[in-house]
Amino acid sequence: MSDTKRFLYVNRKAPHGTVYALESLEVVLIGAAFEQDVSLAFLDDGVFQLIKKQVTTGIGVKNFAPTYRALGDYDVKKVFVERESLEERGLSEDDLMAITHENDDEEDVSSVEIVDRARMAEIMAAQDVILSF
């Protein structure tokens, strides 16, 4: 389809303190219906959105983190996480939840790719539209 555009959703804020993370995820899932070329970027405090085992019962808000696992079902297969942002926060790939999609052989493969800052800048520069949260 010739009118497919490259959309990048940039996530730079920790979850739960503000509504940005949840709003971003909702827009991604709604936008997925439009069959565009969608990527997600997580950098700065945005990397905290993908941390495993978030427990929000004590703060009285819905834990939307499990919803990231549904991205594959919506054909969102590219999740880029910035290495420097993880390292600056004392985090590693092992701290992140698994987000997968089915490949052409119907095998579950990881959608998450850890990229360095320079690569992240290139990914941003390759987009038609950037939506920031």
């Binding site: 940005y20 800052r117 800048a121 290139e122 941003m124 520069a125 038609d128 539209v129 920031s132």
Partner: protein, 103 residues
């Protein structure tokens, strides 16, 4: 193929300006708006150094009405930065392939 990066938060409050500059590629433009204009003051050594280091690879702009609203004279702005009005803001958006807002 270049990008306009907008920064609307003070560099004394958040890392948005530093992050934007760290991801900007040569030929990109960075425009400081709203509280982001605080980062344009030459007298603030640390943030002025940050902005200066991005030039001349990137072009740096600051929105005049937001400077004026905060009582920051144009003469206080880091040398090499360009002050634009709202029409200039529109020209910057139209003149780049994409705009990325560093919220």
């Amino acid at each position: 193929m270049s990008t306009l990066h907008t920064v609307n938060k003070s560099p004394f409050d958040r890392g948005s300006l530093a992050s934007a500059l760290a991801h900007a590629l040569p030929g990109d433009a960075i425009l400081l708006i709203e509280d982001g204009v605080v980062g344009a003051r030459a007298a603030a050594q640390k943030t002025a150094d940050l902005v200066q280091a991005a030039m001349p690879a990137c072009s740096l702009y600051v929105l005049g009405p937001d400077l004026a609203a905060r009582g920051i004279p144009v003469t206080d702005v880091v040398g090499g930065m360009t002050v634009v009005d709202y029409a200039g803001f529109v020209d910057l958006v139209a003149g780049h392939d994409r705009t990325q807002a560093w919220l």
